[in-house]
């Protein structure tokens, strides 16, 4: 039999198999959909958590306060040195006058508080964006060693916490995704096992008339694959509806939280779910067939 004929025969057999046992097919699709819905929701949560933590990380700045009386030439030289430092991404000089303006605009109506003070108490400073947060402690040590530098506000504890949070979320996320994935595989394999078991007589007859294991397996594997993709489609639809509802609720609460994972990322998750659905269905069928020594 030519390849195309073989594929078409097995595909027809697979579709006939799904049609014949509609209830079991529905059970398989539902179990795959629910497993992927749990897994997908968790991945979406992780993506949002990562996005949120990443944004906090991006907003991080080091502030280097200069000592009083540092002259313009020293400031320029210091700026050049900072710009040449590979650990530093951007440097912005904020003079004490600019700093005051910023404070005043931040205070708004309460700006009168500062009117009682005759002299500008704020120092000249540099706002530094670091290239790698992990380099912060080292960089702070180097900056503080400079004679022109009065103090450095690094918020190191805050940075460490954010970094710890990111790596913790990633680690726990990875482990949970693997555990959930395996649990899904078990559930799906057991559901498919019921389908395969119900057709064990058919399988034994196929064997007796001289069918090879691959000949017997192929329609079941295609069935598993189709059920997996159908389950993924269902789970993705539910996930999108649920996510939109969740976003609607969050916006309704006016918490000021914005910047959730958007459609492009959701689409990527959809592709991942399709792949996972296909793999789940395929592996589920394969595992079940192996239990019948096929």
């Amino acid at each position: 039999m030519e390849f195309v004929e073989t594929v078409s025969f097995h595909s027809r057999e697979a579709l006939a198999g799904l049609r014949r046992s509609k209830v079991m097919a529905a059970a398989t699709i539902t179990s795959i959909a629910l497993s992927l819905l749990v897994l997908g929701s968790f991945i979406l949560f992780l993506k949002n958590a990562n996005l949120f933590l990443g944004r906090l990380h991006d907003q991080y700045k080091l502030i280097v306060y200069l000592k009083d009386g540092v002259d313009t030439e020293s400031v320029t030289m210091l700026k050049r040195r900072f710009e040449a430092d590979p650990a530093i991404q951007t440097v912005t000089y904020v003079s004490r006058e600019e700093a005051l303006k910023l404070v005043l605009s931040d205070l708004g109506e309460k700006a009168w508080i500062l009117k009682t003070i005759e002299k500008n108490p704020l120092p000249d400073s540099f706002e530094i964006k670091v290239a790698e947060t992990a380099d912060v402690p080292d960089l702070v040590r180097r900056l503080e060693a400079d004679r022109a530098v009065g103090s450095v506000s690094s918020g190191q504890e805050w940075v460490t916490n954010i970094l710890r949070c990111i790596s913790f979320t990633r680690c726990v996320g990875f482990v949970l995704v693997v555990v959930l994935g395996l649990a899904s595989l078990l559930i799906v394999a057991n559901t498919i096992w019921l389908t395969v078991y119900a057709r064990r007589d058919e399988i034994s007859i196929m064997r007796l008339v001289g069918a090879t294991n691959w000949f017997i397996r192929t329609p079941f594997l295609i069935e598993g694959l189709l059920a997996g993709v159908a389950g993924a489609l269902l789970s993705f639809a539910l996930l999108v509806v649920g996510y939109r509802f969740f976003l609607g609720q969050i916006q309704g609460l006016s918490l000021g939280v914005t910047g959730f994972v958007g459609w492009p990322e959701l689409r990527r998750l959809g592709v991942q779910l399709f792949l996972m659905g296909g793999v789940l269905g395929f592996l589920g069928s394969l595992v079940s067939l192996r239990r019948l020594s096929v």
């Binding site: 039999m1 058919e202 007859i205 196929m206």
Partner: protein, 227 residues
């Protein structure tokens, strides 16, 4: 074609189904296997299509020692051995045509070949007009004929039939027998296990009598030459 040397088959529960069988069946022979229930007829036949392996001794089918046959080669042996079961073993979800065609499909035959050979086998067994029906819509005799058509569609060298008339009335049994004799006349080696001595007596064929897993007698020609 089929050789058995000191074949013993013991099951894990301690039952010895075969106890030192020596048997040689030549190409094109028709052999009745007779004996009471539990004599070992079915076990002996299952060895022929390698559904069982001997506990000791050797079984050689068409020059192939079945104990040494790799698992992956078993399907190819089975394609040269057509099997007819007492309980038919038809796939209920497939039509009569597809049940017969399936045995050809598994060999990798193309659609045209499948159509031609399936139609021929169904025609031979007088089932052409029932091709689109399902097993549940057929009588026992018709199911048995479908089973024979499926066993024959590959032109197997050996046809093994386990009580093929067990569920049928005397007239239908005779019909089935005539078909098997006809197949044998075309050159296929036929082994038929049966309880039905009345039927055996009507055909002048070799009869191997099994009792308690041993060959009690092996008569070259037995009965009237009704065929």
């Amino acid at each position: 074609m089929i050789q058995m040397y000191n074949v013993v088959k013991a099951y894990p529960n301690g039952v010895e189904a075969l106890r030192g069988i020596n048997l040689a069946i030549k190409k094109g022979e028709f052999v009745f296997l007779v004996g009471p229930s539990g004599a070992g007829k079915t076990t002996l036949m299952r060895l022929v299509y390698r559904d069982e392996l001997p506990t000791s001794g050797h079984v050689v089918i068409d020059g192939r020692n079945i104990e040494r046959l790799h698992e992956s080669r078993v399907p190819y042996l089975r394609r040269s051995v057509g099997v007819v079961f007492q309980d038919f073993k038809l796939i209920e979800s497939k039509s009569i045509h597809d049940n017969v065609a399936f045995a050809l499909r598994v060999t990798g035959a193309g659609t045209d070949e499948v159509q031609v050979k399936t139609a021929r086998a169904l025609d031979l067994l007088g089932l052409k007009h029932k091709a689109n029906l399902y097993p549940s819509q057929l009588s026992a005799g018709e199911k048995q004929r479908v089973c024979i058509a499926r066993a024959l569609v590959n032109d197997p060298a050996i046809l093994v039939t386990d009580e093929p008339t067990g569920n049928l009335d005397p007239e239908l049994s005779l019909d089935i027998m005539r078909i098997l004799v006809e197949i044998n006349n075309r050159g296929t080696t036929v082994i038929m296990a049966t309880h039905n001595m009345g039927l055996v007596d009507q055909f002048a064929k070799r009869v191997v009598h099994l009792v308690a897993g041993k060959v009690l007698s092996d008569q070259e020609k037995h009965g009237k030459a009704m065929d």
